[in-house]
Subunit: 485 residues, 2 copies
């Protein structure tokens, strides 16, 4: 074991107020597993690896097994991404997307949560769902049902839209314009808050067998919502669940997206390949909270991260080399084209990027150049895809458990992130490796929990109760707060 | 054991073609358990019974325990009802509804299916979902996901609307007009069929690790749907699941509803209190299938039924008497008012019905009078509610397992139903009793399976494969059929 290089960087005395600490009094690193109900999530082509089990995404056993592995490693959560239509920027069609199975087909993410909850006690679940396609009235019921069934172990990753291909399949001409989408989403959340926070008083369910009264009708209130997009006058159709509003996740990186996060988010996923970008984004997010009257550490910032690990550094590097053999360049370009909004099929695969006339591509190259720390690499479109081929756009750490643990603590200390959203290269192998090799090393550094905190997801994350805190916008809809006004 | 009175009525030789038979060569009785994700489903007030566990509806343990009990008793399925808004005809408000907890709160029914599938191998799941509130594109994905996760053990109970209170909370002024609702639902099913049957060819997923091709894009087709209500041009976002289209359930009793059932339904739930009505409705449903070019026994007709049973007739009758002490008359009137569309709060509880000026009520009394076979009963509004207080509107059988088994076979032989949709009075006690006392007697009569059939829900029900049969309207959208044209 090497001595952790950062042991004095964040002693318990100089930690910012509100950050999670371990029993050792040091800043805690949080772990989410990042998955999607599909075959090729962030690492197209890796489904061909002999040990990859992503093909089993449509079976219960895949999900319950994964959940048990993660809970064994004291992971904080499993975060499930989602899209509802195929990527179709690359080649202006979905042909390459289908061929590579890149985020297609994708099954519904919510339905796999209850069986995982049934085989775990503490693992939490972040589920992606869009505000653009389902009315908030039935959606709030789904959320509340999940919160009941998981006993308060659920978060909702709010996305304001999916891909245009999804919008079109819902009969819309295209997605709403970007800022309007956020206005729509703001009102959507208002309806959800009103239903989950502002309809049923805490003691509305009296369950009195003597009097025969199950609910006291005077304690259930109509929400009388009438806005620009929604009209929902009646009562919520679910009784208060452990958290009422599930923990709100968000991932928007635009200015408007950050304002949305500042107002609503309790956890934010960021996806940047360099320390500088991670640090800058994290600071902006915390600042957005302050601008919404919240504390900077009222949000947990989780940074996308890929880890390739093994018993030794050599073993890890050999594993990485082996993984790269399965990279599907075209499958990767499908994702990159979608993310950048540029049809990368129009460029020669092996043409030096220096010759490509595209600001977005040049900017991506600048970023990757910095991330690689290697000026000698000749960047081509192929190289871009390969660079993201093992785990996606976020940084990649290759090394033994001790090496990875040191690097993660360094990143946290440099960037002020709360934890990592761990993409897989193969599943559940990536997570099994992290549980086996990295978690014990982080524990030894005093930077990772050695047992779960009790209670709901929100309580586990912030240690101060099950419900939205008083300084969160959503809590203004809570009846207990409205009564106090 | 008494000798079954019907042993010659349906010997294997005179059974209609297409009815399920047991290994003993006799007509098989199918069992569904009827439940809802709430506290008071069909028997308001019974939640106060000391042995009732309906209060645990919002826990995983309730559902997984129930599923295991049902599978132990070789039940064919669990059918989960749903509403999305409170009953509010009685007293023109939801006050009495809330007080009694009558079908409020109600959690989402789909989310409890995967954990039940995880603890069972053969039990099937019928889930209620409306066509009025969610776009068919994401809904088809939910259905396909359930069919994948359950390995083909799921059915969809199509309802064309819920209560007006639900429609209003979705921003609609009221529900669509009755016949238009069915037109809308017809198109909704077209979109679902096109997505689940007509987008992905059987061998579209090639999963070829050598070539790196996961999906053959030439075998995935855009559905190009453009109708009156929906516009969905793209591909389905899920790969073919074991059944593709889950088994279609339906419960519409109107003429338009029966035409809809004739076209789409593979199982129909009926809810009538007398043999004559059950027989008449069953015959009309089978006729509706014939009018849609199908065979009369291409549908399984399940009749609502309540059973109170025990080791002896005396014990069962004592149990029934005890159950009646927990009936909540007002909670029952909430349901009856909603079902009949009449505000029963406007009538004196103990006024003889003879004096009440309402055709619907007089007609209900006529029906119940017939069902009771007792002319001496003085019918009042209270008596109506009490009559439905243990298990709801369907007939009630009270007796030992042998008595119940004889009565069920008699009803089947008289009415031509395929099985029973068993409402509970207390849960899971009702089902535990049926498994313990009734199932063995039915088996002894040769009228109940002694082991499960293999395969998907559709295969278990009809014994001829996993997919919609060739003579079903929905199969016209199947690519294999379109290719053959």
């Amino acid at each position: 074991m090497s001595v952790p290089s950062n042991e004095n960087a964040h002693g318990s005395n100089d930690l910012p107020e509100g950050v999670p600490t371990t029993a050792a009094g040091k800043r805690e690193i949080l772990f989410n597993a990042f998955d999607m109900n599909c075959v090729a999530h962030q690492s197209p082509g890796l489904w061909r690896h002999p040990e990859d089990r992503a093909r089993d995404y449509n079976t219960l056993g895949y999900w319950t097994g994964l959940a048990q592995t993660l809970e064994q490693g004291l992971f904080d959560g499993l975060f499930i991404a989602d899209v509802l239509g195929p990527y179709d920027v690359y080649g202006s069609s979905d042909e390459a997307t289908l061929k590579a199975g890149t985020q297609v087909p994708v099954n519904d993410p919510m339905l796999v949560v209850p069986p995982m909850a049934a085989v775990t006690k503490n693992l939490t679940f972040g589920v992606t769902a869009g505000t653009a396609y389902e009315h908030p009235y039935p959606f709030a019921r789904r959320l509340a049902t999940l919160d009941h069934l998981t006993e308060g172990r659920v978060g909702w990753n709010v996305v304001t839209g999916y891909l245009p291909s999804a919008a079109i399949n819902m009969g819309q001409e295209d997605q709403m314009e970007h800022d309007e989408r956020y206005n729509h989403a703001d009102e959507y959340l208002d309806v959800v808050y009103k239903l989950l926070e502002g309809s049923w008083e805490d003691d509305a369910v009296v369950n009195d067998k003597e009097s025969g009264v199950f609910i006291d009708p005077s304690k259930v209130h109509r929400i009388e919502h009438e806005g620009t997009y929604f009209k929902t006058p009646g009562i919520a159709f679910t009784e208060p669940s452990p958290q009422r509003t599930p923990v709100i996740y968000q991932a928007g990186a635009s200015t408007r997206g950050r304002a949305f996060a500042g107002k609503h988010a309790e956890a934010v996923f960021i996806n940047s390949p360099t320390d500088d970008l991670i640090k800058g984004t994290t600071a902006k997010i915390r600042q957005a909270l302050v601008e919404s009257g919240r504390d900077p550490y009222d949000v947990r910032v989780m940074s996308m991260q890929t880890i390739v690990t093994g018993a030794t550094d050599e073993e890890a590097h050999a594993k990485y080399e082996e993984l790269t053999q399965y990279i599907d360049v075209e499958g990767g370009l499908v994702l990159m084209s979608g993310w950048m909004g540029i049809n990368l099929a129009e460029f020669e695969l092996d043409e030096p990027i220096g010759d490509v006339q595209s600001n977005a591509i040049q900017s991506a190259v600048e970023t990757f150049k910095k991330a690689s720390g290697d000026d000698s690499i000749e960047w081509t479109v192929r190289k871009l895809a390969e660079w993201c081929g093992v785990g996606g756009f976020g940084p990649v750490i290759v090394g033994s458990g001790a090496t990875v643990a040191r690097e993660l603590t360094r990143i946290q200390d440099e960037t002020d992130v709360d934890g990592f959203n761990l993409a897989y290269h193969i599943t559940p192998g990536t997570f099994e490796d992290i549980v086996e090799f990295v978690v014990p090393e982080l524990q030894q550094l005093g930077r990772y929990k050695t047992e779960y905190a009790e209670g709901t997801m929100r309580h586990k994350l912030f240690g101060r109760g099950d419900h939205l805190p008083q300084n969160h916008y959503g809590s203004s809809f809570a009846l207990r707060n409205r009564a106090a006004v």
